[in-house]
């Protein structure tokens, strides 16, 4: 079975040139960086906060913070990874505000003894996404990812949706590589387990009365 490939690095040199121009005061260079990454930051923010208003605020605050602190960006890592770290922190902070009774930290390691063991091992229909129309599919995927603990969906969105490497994800979240791998495994298995309810062969619409 061929492996899932990470999207890989892209135009790092060009990115660095834009960062350096922005540092010299070229605001249009910074706007290019905003245009390049605003979609990604919004997706990450929406995955973590699960709230549209918060996601909009995160996009604005993350880019503004990046601009205000551009001087402190060391250029040893990728600008995008640095920006993602700012965005994740902003998003987790928003989430914390909404859940004052419960603290949310990327360090929290939600674990039960058997949560990595799949419970439901039914196979899926051959083209599961075709069982539903686009809107229904999005609703299912949204609802399912929302059910994951914030720490799991953060790792999942960075690694699997945005295509950051495991090392970049660890860097952005200030976690160790084994911690990223452990969360990613459990996030993937929990999503798979929950999606089986919708995509499993038994839930195929053609089998329903």
């Amino acid at each position: 079975m061929p492996p899932i490939q990470s999207k890989g690095t892209e135009a790092v040199t060009d990115e660095l040139a834009l960062v350096q121009a922005a540092k010299r005061g070229d605001i249009s260079a910074f706007e290019q960086l905003v245009k390049r990454y605003d979609r990604n930051v919004f997706r990450i923010a929406q995955h973590i906060t699960q709230n549209r208003e918060d996601a909009e605020d995160v996009v604005q605050d993350a880019f503004l913070k990046a601009y205000q602190n551009l001087e402190s960006f060391q250029e040893q890592s990728k600008f995008y990874t640095w920006l993602v770290r700012i965005a994740v922190n902003e998003a987790l902070m928003r989430l914390r505000k909404r859940r004052t009774a419960k603290t949310v930290s990327i360090d929290e390691d939600v674990q039960t003894e058997d949560d990595a063991i799949p419970r439901e091992v039914a196979d899926w229909s051959p083209n599961p996404e075709q069982l539903y129309d686009q809107a229904e599919l999005k609703e299912i995927l949204g609802k399912t990812v929302q059910g994951l603990p914030p720490t799991f969906r953060t790792v999942f969105v960075l690694r699997d949706v945005e295509g950051l490497s495991t090392e970049e994800t660890a860097d952005a979240l200030e976690l160790s590589v084994p911690a990223v791998k452990s969360r990613l495994l459990r996030a993937r298995l929990q999503l798979r387990d929950r999606l089986t309810k919708y995509f499993g062969k038994k839930s195929s619409r053609s089998n329903q009365p």
């Binding site: 061929p2 899932i4 605001i27 979609r39 601009y67 089986t196």
Partner: protein, 85 residues
Amino acid sequence: MKCSQFLQELTDYLDGVIDTKTRAELEDHLQWCHNCYVVVSTTKRTIEIYRDSKLYEIPDDLRNRLRSAIMSKCAAHKKSPDKKT
């Protein structure tokens, strides 16, 4: 190899970052363990479906509105960097 050991290696296996010897052991396990085969294929599909879903795409009008808000705050900060924008 037990299924629990297989699952511990699942992430590296799906990401293609595994040594040849372990890969061979995992693939040998997949030959006879239907459950793990199903877990591998459906987990892979899970990742692909999310990656292709365009879930949480930002609409163009919102994107433009946010960008212009960001840029005007940046411009204000550039003018008076000490002030909180």
